[in-house]
Symmetry: C5
Subunit: 317 residues, 5 copies
């Protein structure tokens, strides 16, 4: 999903809640602030804590923690953006493959007046529909959804049935495209020299699919995630003990501000790391695949098109 309210003014953004990292970290933030209140209370009431507790370790550790959080965010964002690039490539490849299907599949002597004319244009339509089916199937594959009934109007019943036992359904659809293209080539509808172009577009589909599967199946190494979580938690829990002698009554405020920043940066990394889910800041795959469908159908000359998806409550799904 994608938050779309970004056009609001700078001032309003400060008070947004939906789509921010706040939801994800409010628990931790509340506990840390409560701890700070308790520490302050104990110290002011009983003078319990030792003056040797200083801000020194926080300055020393703060730096590497910041750089490490920066690294984490960089990496998570790269994953997000690579996922977006791959879906952008899917938009491109589906447009390109459609153009190639419409222009390179042709009866040897030209389109008009041959017996094959109808068969060819039916073949083109079928191929473009299979491509649309690939896009939707791939989206469901990435989101671990199982609503393959949606493909019913795009694929023949036999083909849909034969997909059921497949472990990797999108890959099976690409394979089916390959077989159909070979048929067309053997019937003389595709010039042998143009087979490599079409084959390359299929390869591009496979590469896009593999790239997204890679991002989905391989998170950032667990040792990074756990170390960063631990240092952030240690830092925010120890902070009130370290500053209560200097900052006194204001300890909870300071702890709350600092913890807001650190928990926030940590939480965003978690959220953006897997861009194919259904979180508010994930990629709007439904919207993208609908857009591809509309684009391709329009290329086939269809005029009754499904509508593009609109954001619901500021979120594009």
């Amino acid at each position: 999903m994608l938050v779309t309210e970004r056009r609001s003014t700078w001032f309003r953004i400060l008070f947004k809640y939906r789509g921010t990292a706040f939801a994800r970290m409010r628990g931790r933030l509340a506990y840390s602030t409560l701890l700070a209140v308790a520490v302050t209370f104990v110290d002011l009431k009983f003078g319990y804590f030792h003056p040797d507790l200083t801000v020194i370790p926080f300055t020393l550790v703060g730096l590497s923690l910041s750089i490490f959080l920066g690294f984490r965010n960089n990496t998570s964002y790269d994953r997000f953006w690579e996922g977006r690039k791959l879906w952008g490539q899917l938009v491109n490849t589906s447009r390109t493959l459609t153009r190639q299907l419409l222009t390179l599949i042709a009866a040897p002597g030209g389109d008009a007046g041959t017996a094959d004319t109808d068969a060819i244009s039916e073949f083109r339509r079928e191929m473009v529909y299979r491509l649309i089916a690939f896009v939707h199937c791939f989206r469901m594959h990435l989101r671990d959804q199982d609503k393959y009934e949606e493909l019913r109007e795009l694929l023949s019943a036999t083909e849909l049935e034969s997909l059921k036992p497949e472990l990797n359904k999108p890959n099976a659809i690409v394979q089916a495209m390959g077989f159909r293209l070979r048929d067309a080539w053997q019937r003389g509808w595709i010039h042998p020299m143009h087979v490599p172009i079409l084959e390359q577009s299929l390869t591009s589909l496979t590469d896009i699919q593999g790239g997204c599967e890679r991002i989905k199946s391989t998170p950032i190494p667990f040792s990074y995630t756990s170390l960063i979580h631990q240092i952030v938690a240690l830092y925010c829990i120890a902070l009130p003990f370290g500053i209560v002698k200097t900052v006194g009554l204001f300890t909870p405020v300071v702890v709350c501000i600092v913890a807001y920043a650190f928990y926030g940066l940590d939480a965003i990394g978690d959220e953006v790391e897997n861009p194919f889910g259904l979180d508010p800041n994930d990629l709007p795959l439904s919207s993208l695949s609908r857009m591809i469908e509309v684009n391709l159908r329009q290329r086939l000359g269809e005029t009754e098109l499904p509508p593009l998806l609109k954001p619901k409550g500021g979120l594009l799904s």
Copy 2:
């Protein structure tokens, strides 16, 4: 648009206003400074604020804020530069495709003396004009402009009319190019082995288009933008309370300087993030597409060329 006054001396740049981030942040800056004045006044007059308020949280948070602002600027600039690279590729591909149209489309037995000679050279001209139309149409598509009348002298009236219902006009133009190339190939004007080269250039156009659409439609995740806005605002609003006991009368000056730096870095990120708009630091798409038009027309041997765009008031549109 692109600021072109950069050749001025280092000293003069310090006092430039147009094209800097100042316009975008002057409101916030003024409010923060006024708040600092108020805080200073109250403290000096009534000794109101508690000495426990220290600079400590600002040192602790400042670091991750800086690294996070650095990340934000890095990312925004990468988007800007990727957009520029894509338009650079558009320059390259349009030159390359023009060269290919002029050299690879030819009557089988050589150009001279065939009946097709005139038809072929008219065909080449029409194709190059359609390519120029693609460039202009794509620019308007990216800027959400609707001045498609500009294309009247580049496309035939029927073709222009058929574009109207299209949701994605540039894509439809590329499709039209594909159909025309198939015609030429079927007439024998293009060697079947050379079709892949031309097809590849069309694919490159589609990839450039998709790349720009991706940058335009997918901003940096909202959770980043909102968190960074919040931390910057929190920092600049809390700063006077934290330093008024140490810096005294100079609080507003210090707050103004620090806020200038942080608001400035934040505002630049916002401005550069979407490089296809009409902000002073956005890409000069009008100028680039005019340059492409002039380059391609000159390749057709035309001598009456529209002028290249000149900067107006230091800005290239």
Copy 3:
């Protein structure tokens, strides 16, 4: 191997042990903390240490150390991710090559009714099995394992035997594929214009193999690794002397926290640097190659497939 327990809650991750960097650094951490205890004891008992020992050098060095640790982690992670990308490409290329083998290898006049039909489909099966053998062989090659008996059901006995003297077994398998494809082409089973496509897929296999061998054989320059180890060790050993006068009794706690962060970041870099080993955070090559095998066999229409690997004790091998 890959740690898979990442779906646990944020709170639980704080107390995980397996797959974290803790195992790797517990020795160093214990020694540093013990040293801090000793230093604190000597100072409090005998007032031995000089007050001139301050935190200054740690602030000065801490910054470049942090940036350097950041650089180290960046680089190690890039190596990890490049390794993952190459294995992702292997997934893609093996799917693509399988599709090409199934669609581009065909009797000239179409599949049915020719004498070659059976020979061709046997040839396709043999080629796909050889590809699966390549994947497994390559995995063992990267992990310096010698269990080539595993390939017995994928390759003929003669071929397996001829692999034995080879120094680079995966490369020899690709060469064998090349020879077999030439045979098919010379028999007319592959159109001469389609040989380049298949050849390109073989080249892709060679590139993937070379890329992984490069990562495996060339670690980060030793001068980086040694300098960073030295500075981290120097820092953590000198720290108690520098802070004992200020922090007093809390010296061991502070040293333990700081050393945890620095040793941890250093240790993660070491662990992730070579992603093809059998450490908990290394790539799950066994699981990936099994997945490839299942995918390809399903493309051949086989239904008795080996099961996908499941994580054992939270680790995917």
Copy 4:
């Protein structure tokens, strides 16, 4: 130009002047130091400045300034290195295209004994010369130089004349190559299947040209440059006021050292940003294009070659 004295010892480099950033910033540095002297004098003599002026804002701002300067230098260096990569690609493509011209252009039945032999070898020579002309013309195009007479011995008089009205001369030369290759193909000197290879090399020339033009015409957004100049200047001008109470007599020394670092980093960014100029640290385009010329002529079997360029006064032009 390129500074070549880098082989001198570490100690000597400390006192180099030529090719360093010092020349570019000496003015600013002198003014800042003088201001510091004045501030120190006024303070020591009249005790004029207020003790509230502290080093705090410099610590707070210093961090983001440093990170921002780091970003700026990163970006500038990336532009420099991308420019170098493009010229490296030009070296590669010119060698490759020469090899292709010499091996792929041939009379159908083999070279010897045909009537075309002489015409073909003259054609090859002419094409290689045109390629050398492209390289020189492109260098002058990038440097806004107008010494096109240099091309007189590489191009025929008519061709040189026809270049004059061209707005983009290198592009016109590539177009001319395209036309000549078509001629050769139509005469049967190039196999139709080999045209794509040669065409691809021309495309590579166009891409290199476009890439360099992009770097030249699109500087880093002005809002970055101006903000960084402003913060650096503000920082260095305000510094003496902030530290004069603490550092006293040594204020000018401290200001000079700090300003040296910040002005230096800022100035290097400016210098390296456009790598195609004639600054000491710009790319040695003259030397590179001469090297290409010598390489290609040697491939033609020529033995009277112009000498490679030597550094003059430690600078390679």
Copy 5:
């Protein structure tokens, strides 16, 4: 060369000398420490230095220095790794080209029973040997070595002789391969459609060569190197004056630790910047080219192979 002792334990690495940056910086380090001793002595004996000298400028400058050192190391490492990638590509391309030579060069009607059989297999062997010669020649070219006698058993005497006047010997070898491939094509040993594949592999060799030449001939701009050397030196020389009042007797220890870190980071950048030399941390080109030779000869079916290089004294040359 490559340091191979990295498998030693973490503890032992702390005391390694060979292959670390220590050798390169021991002089500077000794001088800085001696200066610190002198400053401390003078101050303690005569109370000479002014208390205004503080640690402030070092904190202010230290940050940008660290970030700048980080940038430098990043860039140097990128050069190292790009060099390694190019040699990795050389490994890949040489394997691929060998496979292509063995499979795509064939008598039209199949290998057996033709008069050309022997000539063809001799031709293949000669081509693979020329490729091995390219690899060795390229290694010597990069290292400015002149031991071309090593190529005597790989190239014919005439060919070796004709290389002598060449300014760029590896390029001349690639050209010779191109001519020989044309011969084979004209004799009908290579299908015209397969020439592009082989030509592409030659292009890849040229690209690899050009890439390495680029890294070798274009160091990081001198203004970066000199500025960083100057700031590091200034910092380490001024440090004792700044801290002697605070740290007293421990000044030399602190200076030594800080200078160790900064000189070390600076020195590593210098060492890794040019990865093709003979420093301990440079790339093991001899070992890589020997490995390529063994791989390719084994593909030719040879069994008497030269041994792979073993590390000598922990260094792989």
